[in-house]
Symmetry: C2
Subunit: 355 residues, 2 copies
DNA sequence: TTGTATGCGTTATCAC
DNA sequence: GTGATAACGCATACAA
């Protein structure tokens, strides 16, 4: 094997043409005789030519305007992490010409989403990163972007039609399955487990149902459905009925509850309840490294948090766009981030890890 | 804020000097008047100048020969993963001039290590990545490299003196602590747990003792030492005594064993035993995603594997050298990779993840 | 249909 | 002390 990597100049020399011609062949710009074309292609192949990405990025120093369409962290602090990941990626890629404009929408109001998406559609962007939490309302935009040839990357929620450049995420079903395993491992005797959806409009959040389904299936697949009784609970505080009251009722009806699986990032609400009522026999599993959750994780009231690197989702999303736009590098169209199991004892590695 | 990032040229223009002068200041090459020096520094600071790494790497297209000194995967397949990580990094960085030469030593023979390390010392490398599993024998080389000004990165085993460019790893103590938590969570009644060192020269492997200490401390710190009895077991097969026989004896002496923590990657040996003897009441926790371990993990005989991204250790090790050599980018001198908890249900994300 | 010249930002060499 | 200038590999406008 030769020591140095081959350059366009090397190909040109062997083909007895100029670098301009080689370039035209490599970029399919035409205006070159078929005979020469074949010769150059053959040589490039033989030499296993790989363009120097550095040089390419250096010469193409355009600025690429990228839009990020994400929910408001002020409305749901889960979105702080993806936002931070987006900003970290932007910081790294700024010098290569990536510029990110954030479009923040209220995750509780479809209209807010439409409004922001319209703004993006009205502008011209080189690429778009979006957390399409409103399924139906997203489709029209995907359609438009696809027609316009604008690459878009999805994260958090998968919508496989319309061929996004990449999907990054979240495997809701499997995470529910994993939660089943963790509660099962912690309780070997016959008992009840609760799947709790907290303050959610469950009909509009199919991923929460996927989590529930995964959880239920864990026990079903092992013929354990008779041993473990899974109680579905849709907890929403109302004027008449606080969540604590609803939990009181749940425990009254099923005193053998030994585990609670909270399907969103609000496990801390249940933790607060358990602490208040001094209930210690029920293990608690939730999602996401929110500050409140970490508080109860460190107290030992939350046993495990399942985490799918939300900061990384934003980070890799922007990077995927950059790889495509700047480096013309192909990535796998789907990237599942690992389902990390976080407990008090390994927490700090995940908090401190850069990405 | 301005739109484009600032270049040397911009600094030069504002300071009314040429780019050559700015360059001399930025690189401390001297031959520039103090007055101008201060002015340029101030402007660079004000403009928040960040060099364009692409351009820098492009112009410095030397080839950097890097040595990797690692144990033989054929002797201990654990080392396949770091080796794969090293090769992946090399593949990525080849075009920037990084070339890696691997020096493989037999992890069971010090002389093999010395032999390979001598080869490296006899040659001239721009940087070195090493898994210094032989503590005492490594020191002399670190000393030499440090004197020669050759940057070296350590992984897998930390030796903080001699200031390596970076250490990547493994937090043995904390991983033992985590194992304690996991066994504790799986067994709430009074019982015995075994810490098993399998086929190891325990005196020479301080990191295994750190794991044991972390495990013991988990129970001690929660005043649980009276509830859970920790049995230390140093299992080595001899002509007279197979490991199975030693385990038989262990179970005979302590029939209340409800968990076994294997401190190295050989949990599969215990798993095989448990399967053979049809013992189901003892949870098994081990390390590392070796094929044999995965087999028993999938069977449910191994409950959890603790993993500290060994592929990533090799990968980031080479990258750290490249960042230093090519990009002159400063990294944190210590990088702990997360202590991942792997179970059957989240395994495949870790296997498939690129790094 | 083909070749040449210029520039991207940085480094390093040379002449003044 | 300082300022031009060539080079790195690639892309592209333009000349031939």
């Amino acid at each position: 094997m030769n020591n140095h990597t081959f350059r366009i100049k090397d190909i040109a020399a062997r083909a007895n043409v100029s670098i301009g011609t080689v370039d035209r062949v490599l970029h399919n710009r035409g205006r070159v005789s078929e005979e020469v074309r074949q010769r150059i292609l053959a040589i490039a192949d033989e030499l296993n030519y790989k363009p120097n990405l550095l040089a390419r990025a250096l010469v193409n120093n355009k600025t690429y305007n990228v839009a990020a369409l994400i929910p408001d962290p002020a409305a749901d602090s889960y979105w702080q992490a993806p936002k931070a990941g987006i900003e970290k990626a932007e910081e790294e890629l700024k010098q290569y010409g990536i510029r990110v404009t954030q479009y923040i929408f209220d995750p509780f109001h479809v209209n807010s989403f439409l409004e922001q998406a319209d703004k993006i559609a009205a502008s011209t962007f080189s690429g778009i990163l979006v957390a399409p939490i409103f399924y139906r309302q997203s489709l029209a935009y995907f359609d438009k972007w696809k027609n316009d040839g604008i690459p878009f990357v999805l994260f958090n929620t998968h919508i496989p039609d319309y061929e996004p450049l990449m999907y990054i995420g979240q495997d809701s079903y499997q995470s529910g399955f994993l939660a089943g395993k963790l509660l099962h491992y912690g309780c070997k005797e016959k008992c009840s487990f609760v799947v709790a959806h907290i303050e959610e409009d469950i009909l509009n959040s199919s991923h929460l149902l996927h989590k529930e389904q995964g959880f239920v299936d864990y026990f079903a697949k092992q013929q354990l459905a008779g041993v473990y009784n899974v109680i579905q609970a849709d907890l929403q505080s109302t004027a008449q009925n606080t969540i604590a009251q609803q939990l009181d009722q749940l425990f009254a009806e099923a005193p053998d509850i030994k585990g609670i699986f909270v399907t969103n990032s609000k496990a801390s609400i249940v933790a607060e309840y358990l602490q208040d009522r001094q209930i210690t026999q029920a293990h608690l599993i939730g999602y996401d490294l929110m500050e409140k959750n970490l508080h109860y994780l460190n107290l030992g009231i939350i046993e495990f948090l399942i985490n799918q690197n939300p900061k990384g989702q934003g980070y890799w999303g922007i990077h995927a766009l950059a790889d495509y736009l700047i480096f013309q590098k192909k990535n796998n169209p789907i990237k599942y981030l690992p389902l990390d199991i976080i407990t008090k004892e390994n927490l700090h590695y995940y908090i401190e890890s850069d990405i």
